[in-house]
C-alpha cells in the first residue's frame, strides 16, 4: 500500500496540437547509397515523437534532414505551414529547431555556463563592439541571456557544475549540458539524437525525467532517436520505425509493438 504512486500522470493527459512539422516523400542518397527512400511522417505540436530502427536505418540522416544539415533530393518539408525542400542549418536554428548530437559536441575547454550561453548566440542582437565593452544595450542583453541560461541550469539541476570546464565532467552530465545548450535557444522543436546512449540506469531515469519535464513545462515538441526500447515505449506519444531507409511502421507505442514488419526487422525473420 505504501508504495502507491501519487495520482498524477504524465503523458496521458498531455494534449498534442496541430501538425507543426510535416515531412513528405523525403528521399536522400549519397551517390549510389540510398539513405532515405520516400519517407513521410508528421510531428504534432507538443508531442514526443520517437524515431527508431536498427543501426544504419537512416535515423540520424532523418534528423539531419530536419535541421538542414542534409538537403534531400526529393520530397518537401512543411514546417509551420511553410513549404521548403530543405533549409540551411542556421535557418533551421533561427526558426526554432534545436538539437543535440549522438557524439557530444560541446566546447570541452569552456565552462558549462559558457557552453550554455553559446546556445543564445542566435538571439544576441547588439553588435560585437558594444558586447566587448559590455555597455548600454549590450549589457542589458547579456544580463537577459544570462538569466535565461541560469533558468536552464536550475531546470536541469546542474548548479554545482556551472563553472566547471565541460571536459572534466562525466559523460552523463555532459549529455545534460548539451541538452541545456539546446534548450536555452528556446526551441519549438528539439531534436535529440540518442540522448541516453552510454548511460547507466540512474542517468537514463534522470534524462527521461528531464525530457518529460521539458515537454511538459516548457511546452517543447520533441523528436528523439533512441535505442532503449523501454525508454521509447514509456515516454513517446508516437513512434516511427525505419529500416534500410524505409518507413516500416508508424503509430502509438502499442501499435508499433504489435506490427509484424517491425518485429521482423528487429528480431530477424526465418527465410
Amino acid at each position: 500500500m505504501l508504495m502507491n504512486e501519487p495520482d498524477v500522470h504524465f503523458g496521458t493527459e498531455r494534449k498534442t496540437g496541430p501538425v507543426i512539422l510535416d515531412l513528405k516523400n523525403i528521399s536522400l542518397s549519397f551517390g549510389g547509397v540510398k539513405a532515405l527512400t520516400d519517407i513521410s511522417f508528421d510531428v504534432k505540436q507538443h508531442e514526443i515523437r520517437a524515431i527508431i530502427g536498427p543501426n544504419g536505418a537512416g535515423k540520424s540522416s532523418m534528423l539531419n534532414v530536419i535541421n538542414g544539415v542534409y538537403r534531400p533530393q526529393q520530397g518537401e518539408i512543411i514546417y509551420r505551414g511553410e513549404h521548403r525542400r530543405g533549409m540551411d542549418c542556421y535557418e533551421a536554428a533561427k526558426s526554432g529547431i534545436a538539437r543535440t548530437f549522438q557524439n557530444i559536441a560541446l566546447f570541452k575547454g569552456m565552462t558549462v555556463l559558457d557552453n550554455i550561453m553559446t546556445g543564445r548566440n542566435l538571439k544576441m542582437k547588439s553588435n560585437f563592439l558594444l558586447q566587448a565593452l559590455y555597455w548600454g544595450p549590450a549589457r542589458r542583453e547579456e544580463i537577459e541571456h544570462r538569466k535565461k541560461a541560469e533558468e536552464i541550469i536550475d531546470f536541469l539541476e546542474i548548479q554545482a557544475i556551472r563553472k566547471t570546464p565541460v571536459g572534466r565532467l562525466p559523460y552523463g552530465l555532459q549529455k545534460r549540458v548539451e541538452l541545456g545548450r539546446a534548450l536555452v535557444a528556446e526551441p519549438e522543436i528539439l531534436l535529440l539524437d540518442e540522448p541516453m546512449a552510454g548511460m547507466n540506469v540512474e542517468e537514463k531515469q534522470d534524462m527521461c525525467r528531464f525530457i518529460l519535464d521539458v515537454n511538459d513545462q516548457l511546452g517543447t515538441t520533441i523528436v528523439l532517436i533512441e535505442h532503449d526500447m523501454g525508454v521509447v515505449m514509456d515516454i513517446s506519444d508516437r513512434v516511427v520505425v525505419l529500416d534500410y531507409g524505409r518507413k516500416i511502421g508508424d503509430g502509438t507505442p502499442d501499435e508499433v509493438r504489435s506490427n509484424q514488419d517491425v518485429i521482423n526487422a528487429y528480431l530477424g525473420v526465418a527465410h
Partner: protein, 649 residues
C-alpha cells in the same frame, strides 16, 4: 507566571529585529546564480503574510506544523510563522523515505505541512491513504506541480496571498497572536534520531532555545555582522541552534546554499564568519586537499609540507595567544601568505572567526590541522534534549580530547556510573506526549541524564568516553567502550565506519566499512583495479591496509592500562556501506548496534567461531524506496595484538 508575558519569544525577537536593524540582511539565498537578500524588515513582512495565510486555512494555537525540505529561507519563515500563531514547527529529515516520515506525522498529529518541493509533496500524498489527517500542504518550489490538483495543496505564494487578504480583513490579528505567545510555550519539536527505539519528539520552549542561543552568542561574542551558512538538516538540533536560536538572538545573516551539491562553492562565495559542521565535513575537506596536493607539482608539494610542519609546531600556540619564538612567528607569517591563507580561501574559511564541530568525536590530527592553520575550531557537546548547549571550549584553552568547561548557567555532574548529568535553562520541557519517557531522563532535581559516560580532568574540562548504555564488560572484567575503539579507528581516512563487539566476550572483534574515496585513491595509485565497492572491499590489499590501521590502534590501546584488554583480535570488511536507508545508521549517521548485531548475526558468529570466511546476503534499499539484494563471501582476518601491559604491571 506574571512576568511570563514579558519573556522573549521568537516572534517577539523577530519584531524587535525588524525595528532595531530593519535594513540589515537577515536571510540570503542563491537563486539563478545570484544571491538574493531579505532584510529583517522583509522577513517581518513575509512571516506576517505567511502566518495570516496559515490562520486563513485554519491553523490555530497549539497545532503542529511539519516543515520538510532543504534549508530554504521560506522554510525558516514557516517556522517563525507557526510560532507567531502559537503553533509549533516540527522539522523533519528531508531525505527520509515516506515510510519513515509516517511515524513522526502520526506522533506529532500533523495536519498542516509546509514543504520544499514536488519530491516532498509526493511523499506526503503517498502516505495519504494511511494517514489521511494531513489536510493542508503548502509547497515552496512550484516546479513540476502543474498537474497536481489535490484539494489539500496550495503554493507558498498562494498561501501568502491568502494571508495578505486575511491580514487586511482582520487588522490587529497578527499583533494579538504574537502578543499571546508565552516563553514557556514550545518553540519547536525536534525528533530524536532514534538510536534507541522509536524517535521521540523533544519539546524545546522559546525560553530554553533562546537561552541556549544567548549563551553561545555571549560566550563567543557573536554580533549581527556574522554570516553563517545553513546547510545541515533543519531537523537537527545543531541547525536549530545556529540558524534559528543564535540568529534570532544576535540578528546575524543566515545564508542558504543553492542546492546540496553546491555547498562548498557557496561557502567560498559567502565566506561565513561562523561555521558549524560535523567532523565528517571537516574530514572530507582535508581529504580533498590532501588528494589535490598529491597531484601538485613537486615544488608546491615541498612548500606545502614545509609550512605544514611550521604550522604543526607553532600554529595552535599562536592561535591560543601563547608565547612563540620570533623565528617561528616569522615563518608562520610567511606560511600564512604562501599556504594557509590561500588554503583557507579555497575552503571558504578565510573569514571564519569561530568554527564548531559536534555530533561525533573529531580526530586529534584533524582538529590540530584546522587549528594550526588558524581556524578557531571548537568542539560542542550536547544533545537534542539540551539544545547542544552543555559545554563550551573557551578561546585560548582548548584541548582536543575534551569538550571544554560547562557553559555559563549550566550545571554538569557525574553519576556514580560515570553518566553525565546536566541541569540548564536550555533543557527540554519534555518529550511530546510522553510524560513517562520524560520522567526517565529528567530526575526530580531537574538533572537531565545524557546517557553519555564521561570524566572530568584536573582543570575541570569534561571528557566524553562513550554512550553509558554502550559501555559493556568483557568476560575478563575489563571495561569495553566500543565507541572509544571505533573512533580511534575512524580517525584513519581509509575507515568510514566501524562496529566493535566485545560485551560479554573474551575478545574484541570488529566490522569495518572502508571509505571508498580514500581506499579507491590509494588503490589507483598502486595500480590495483577494482569493479566497485563490493569488489574493492573484498580485496586482499584492502584487508592488508585495514589490518595495518587496526594494529596501530591495538598498539595504542595496549599502552592504556584501562583499555589494553580491548584490542581488536579479528575483523572483516563489510561488502556494503552501512546506510540509514537500511536502518543500520540513524539519520545523523550513528551506528544502530542492536539492529546491526541482529541483521549480521551470522557474521558475528563467524568472527567468534574462528572461521576464515562467511557468505552473506543482505537486502538493500535504494534511495527511491525500491529494494534489491547484495551478497558476498566475506573474508575474516586476524590482527596482531600486544600483551596486556596493565595486567603485567
Amino acid at each position: 507566571m506574571q512576568n511570563n508575558t514579558a519573556m522573549p519569544t521568537f516572534p517577539r525577537r523577530l519584531v524587535q529585529h525588524g525595528a532595531v536593524r530593519p535594513d540589515k540582511p537577515a536571510f540570503r539565498e542563491k537563486y539563478l546564480g545570484i544571491w538574493q537578500t531579505w532584510t529583517w524588515r522583509d522577513v517581518n513582512a513575509e512571516v506576517r503574510a505567511l502566518a495570516c495565510g496559515l490562520a486563513a486555512i485554519g491553523f490555530q494555537r497549539g497545532m503542529n506544523l511539519a516543515i520538510i525540505g532543504d534549508n530554504r529561507p521560506r522554510l525558516y519563515w514557516a517556522m517563525l510563522a507557526a510560532q507567531s500563531l502559537g503553533g509549533v514547527p516540527v522539522p523533519l529529515y528531508q531525505d527520509a523515505p515516506a515510510a519513515d516520515m509516517a511515524y513522526v506525522l502520526q506522533d506529532a498529529h500533523i495536519q498542516y505541512a509546509i514543504v520544499e518541493d514536488q519530491e516532498q509533496v509526493d511523499k506526503l500524498l503517498e502516505l495519504k491513504s494511511l494517514y489521511p489527517h494531513v489536510a493542508h500542504i503548502a509547497y515552496d518550489d512550484e516546479r513540476g506541480m502543474r498537474h497536481y490538483h489535490q484539494p489539500e495543496l496550495i503554493s507558498f505564494a498562494g498561501l501568502q496571498a491568502l494571508g495578505r487578504e486575511y491580514d487586511r480583513d482582520h487588522p490587529g490579528f497578527f499583533e494579538a497572536a504574537v502578543e499571546a505567545g508565552r516563553g514557556l510555550d514550545s518553540a519547536v519539536i525536534l525528533y530524536t534520531s532514534g538510536t534507541t527505539g522509536k524517535p521521540k519528539g523533544v519539546c524545546q520552549s522559546h525560553t530554553a532555545l533562546l537561552a541556549a542561543g544567548e549563551g553561545g552568542v555571549a560566550f563567543d561574542q557573536l554580533t549581527d555582522d556574522e554570516d553563517i551558512l545553513s546547510y545541515l538538516p533543519m531537523a537537527w538540533v545543531g541547525d536549530c541552534l545556529f540558524s534559528l536560536a543564535q540568529a534570532m538572538v544576535a540578528g546575524f545573516t543566515v545564508n542558504c546554499p543553492e542546492s546540496g551539491d553546491t555547498v562548498m562553492i557557496d561557502m567560498r562565495e559567502i565566506g561565513p564568519t561562523c561555521y558549524f559542521a560535523p567532523p565528517r565535513v571537516f574530514e572530507n575537506m582535508l581529504t580533498s586537499v590532501m588528494i589535490r596536493m598529491e597531484d601538485a607539482s613537486s615544488i608546491k608539494r615541498r612548500i606545502f609540507s614545509h609550512f605544514m610542519d611550521v604550522a604543526r609546531r607553532c600554529g595552535a600556540q599562536i592561535l591560543d595567544g601563547k608565547p612563540v619564538s620570533l623565528l617561528d612567528r616569522l615563518s608562520y607569517q610567511l606560511g600564512n601568505v604562501l599556504v594557509y591563507g590561500p588554503l583557507k580561501n579555497v575552503l571558504g574559511l578565510s573569514r571564519v572567526r569561530v568554527a564548531y564541530t559536534a555530533g561525533a568525536a573529531i580526530g586529534p590530527d584533524l582538529f590540530r590541522f584546522y587549528r594550526s592553520i588558524g581556524v578557531n575550531l571548537k568542539q560542542l557537546y550536547g544533545s537534542t534534549e539540551t539544545c547542544a548547549y552543555v559545554c563550551l571550549q573557551p578561546d585560548g584553552n582548548i584541548k582536543f580530547d575534551s569538550v571544554g568547561l560547562p557553559a555559563p548557567g549550566v550545571e554538569v555532574k557525574l553519576a556514580a556510573n560515570g553518566e553525565v548529568l546536566v541541569k540548564s535553562p536550555a533543557t527540554m520541557s519534555g518529550y511530546y506526549h510522553r510524560p513517562e519517557a520524560t520522567a526517565e531522563v529528567i530526575d526530580a532535581d531537574g538533572y537531565f541524564h545524557t546517557g553519555d559516560a564521561g570524566v572530568f580532568d584536573s582543570e575541570g574540562h569534561l571528557k566524553i568516553i562513550d554512550r553509558a548504555a554502550d559501555v559493556g564488560k568483557m568476560n575478563c572484567g575489563a571495561i569495553f567502550a566500543p565507541n572509544y575503539i571505533e573512533n580511534k579507528l575512524k580517525f584513519f581516512p581509509f575507515i568510514k565506519e566501524v562496529v566493535a563487539f566485545g560485551h560479554g566476550r573474551d575478545q574484541v572483534c570488529a566490522f569495518i566499512n572502508i571509505d571508498i574515496e580514500a581506499v579507491g585513491n590509494w588503490s589507483e595509485r598502486r595500480g590495483i583495479a577494482y569493479a566497485g565497492y563490493t569488489d574493492l572491499a573484498a580485496r586482499a590489499e584492502t584487508y592488508g591496509l585495514i589490518r595495518d590501521c587496526i594494529e596501530q590502534v591495538n598498539a595504542e590501546l595496549a599502552a592504556d592500562p584501562l583499555m589494553d584488554r580491548t584490542q581488536v583480535h579479528r575483523f572483516l570488511v563489510l561488502h556494503k556501506e552501512l546506510d540509514p536507508d537500511d536502518d543500520e545508521l540513524t539519520r545523523t549517521r550513528k551506528v544502530r548496534r542492536k539492529f546491526i548485531a541482529e541483521k549480521y548475526a551470522v557474521l558475528i558468529a563467524a568472527l567468534y567461531e574462528g572461521k576464515t570466511s562467511q557468505f552473506i546476503e543482505t537486502q538493500v534499499k535504494f534511495e527511491d524506496g525500491r529494494t534489491g539484494s547484495t551478497s558476498a563471501d566475506l573474508q575474516i582476518w586476524t590482527s596482531k595484538t600486544w600483551p596486556a601491559l596493565g595486567l603485567a604491571a
